[in-house]
């Protein structure tokens, strides 16, 4: 009986998670068109009300590229902040921390991947005229 309850508990989480991901994918299609205008020209970071807060806390020591090229869950971004605080002299973010994490979670979360090797993407086709 207990097992069955546990099973349905996880099943319901799974169903909710599937629905949520469908919704977020749809939203992505509508509003997620990434254009140059959605990026801060100085840093390449996504423009957002919390952008200046993120820049003030995150890019004093390291390049903004260390953010833009990474994809992590909120928990892993938080662990990374803790690691920087422990090892790299990062200060206590105080009240800013949840806002910084909101921002990172919103724009720099892992993307889903279907296979263990992705299809080749952004191939720049060219005519190979004379072989070496």
């Amino acid at each position: 009986m207990r097992l069955r309850i546990v099973f349905f508990y996880f099943l319901s989480i799974y169903v909710i998670a599937c629905k949520t991901s469908q919704i977020s994918e749809k939203n992505e299609e509508v509003e997620g068109q990434l254009t140059e205008n959605s990026l801060d020209p100085d840093s390449g970071l996504r423009i957002d009300p919390n952008l200046m807060l993120v820049k003030a806390n995150c890019t004093a020591c390291h390049s903004s590229k260390l953010i833009t090229m990474n994809r992590m869950s909120r928990e892993r971004w938080k662990e990374t902040i803790r690691w920087m605080q422990e090892k790299q002299n990062l200060w206590d973010l105080g009240e800013s921390e949840p806002l910084v994490l909101d921002y990172l979670e919103k724009y720099y979360a892992p993307e889903s991947q279907a296979t263990r090797r992705k299809n080749l993407e952004a191939i720049e086709w060219y005519e190979l005229k004379k072989q070496e």
Partner: protein, 411 residues
């Protein structure tokens, strides 16, 4: 893709960022300023930022500089200095005087502490030149899922230049190595990104047995010229076949240790992988990590560049390099049907131990269409590269999965 994503655009932007931070005020509409309005000091060319580096290298990170070489630019048998990747952990030293640069040998297991100028090294020890494969432990990190944090290297954090210097073992033996020596650990002149001078950006090393190999060098020259600043000028270690982070740059001291070296990025999870296979995303306790030693077998396709369209012919010559850490590569094969069948390539012997090997073959495509050419190397122990991403690990090291290029046949 917008302007800021190409290298020159990015550099312009980062130069602008630097200038605005120097002036102490944000130029709010900087990107709308016509070029002529920009102050003269902002006219910074890429060469001023990365002197001597090829403009098509891909900048992953500019603070610290981490720059990778696209596979097709690695086609030379000996990697030229301008195409050698950069993996910095801190800021390179700013003032370097080759004539008063010294290297100190010390440590618990050194019989005596000794100091050498570069002139001492050149005059007192025999010179050796080797072509040595240096690959970042995190090369291929971009392939792991869930994503591993750090610089998202694809294939290009690898090089095989010709290094000249003295044997590390000759210098260590000159200072004297005690029987209880276990490891060596280097220190460089690079500084921590936070500006905190008490912090060391990186200080790694290798077991004494690897340090005493013939090919382990203290080098002052790459391809018969001074080492580029970003690659360790004026002096560095070169430890072929192991994570390139063991090849300390801007080398100031080497400690002969009676314990496994415990410098920055030797401990915790840095350059370490779990001792046992783990599920992707699994949490692994720190004590279950082990230090990466010899790098795994790997190959790249350096010709042609991915995206080649063939017209009027079904034949294509492909070539590249293969390497296998401390071992040799015994076989390279290519597949145009996603691994269903393999064609064995011609493979050359390495020019010396720990140098990459060159392979080539000619493919005859059966009909028009889209193809991927996958390359797979096998080492002298019979171990091959996986086609899929190998075992996930928390820090994303050691992805040696097969490299591939896209080809279209339109004849």
């Amino acid at each position: 893709m917008g302007d800021i994503w190409n290298r020159r655009g990015f550099l312009k932007k980062s130069a602008l960022t630097t200038i605005t931070s120097l002036i102490g005020a944000e130029i709010v509409f900087a990107r709308h300023l016509p070029k002529k309005v920009l102050p003269v000091m902002m006219e910074v060319s890429p060469d001023d930022l990365l002197p001597g580096k090829h403009p098509d290298l891909v900048i992953l990170n500019n603070k610290p500089w981490n720059v990778e070489t696209p596979a097709h630019l690695l086609n030379d048998s000996v990697t030229p200095a301008d195409k050698m990747f950069i993996r910095n952990n801190g800021n390179p030293p700013e003032e370097i005087n080759m004539s008063n640069w010294t290297l100190k040998i010390d440590g618990e297991s050194a019989l005596q502490t000794k100091e050498y100028t570069i002139a001492d090294l050149k005059s007192r020890f025999k010179h050796y030149s080797y072509q040595l494969t240096l690959e970042c432990g995190g090369n291929g990190r971009a392939g792991f899922y869930p994503p591993a944090s750090g610089n998202q290297w694809t294939e290009g954090a690898v090089s095989c230049g010709k290094w000249t210097g003295v044997r590390l073992k000759d210098v260590l033996n000159d200072a004297g190595v005690k029987q209880d020596a276990v490891y060596i650990g280097y220190k460089g002149a690079d500084t921590h990104l936070s500006g905190d001078i008490s912090k060391v950006p990186i200080s790694r090393g290798v077991p004494i047995s690897k340090a005493l190999e013939d090919e382990s060098l203290i080098a002052w020259s790459l391809n018969d010229e001074d080492i580029p600043l970003m690659n360790g000028f004026p002096l560095r270690l070169v430890i072929g076949g192991w994570p390139a982070s063991t090849s300390g740059k801007w080398l100031r001291s080497i400690s002969i240790r009676n314990v496994v070296h415990d410098g920055e990025k030797m401990t915790g999870t840095s350059y370490r992988v779990p001792k046992y296979p783990v599920q992707p995303g699994q949490k692994v306790p720190e004590e279950d990590f082990m230090i990466i030693e010899s790098m795994p077998v790997k190959s790249i396709v350096t010709y042609p560049k991915s995206g080649a369209i063939l017209k009027g012919t079904n034949k294509l010559k492909v070539n590249g390099h293969a390497w296998a850490g401390d071992l040799e590569v015994s076989k390279v094969q290519v597949s145009i049907d996603f691994g269903a069948t393999w064609l064995e390539c011609e493979l050359k012997s390495p020019v010396n131990r720990l140098a990459w090997q060159h392979w080539s073959c000619t493919i005859d495509f059966p009909q028009s269409g889209y193809y991927e050419v996958w390359a797979k190397a096998t080492d002298s122990n019979g171990v091959s590269q996986p086609m899929v991403i190998p075992g996930w690990n928390p820090k994303g090291y050691l992805n040696n999965s097969c490299h591939r290029i896209a080809v279209k046949v339109e004849s």
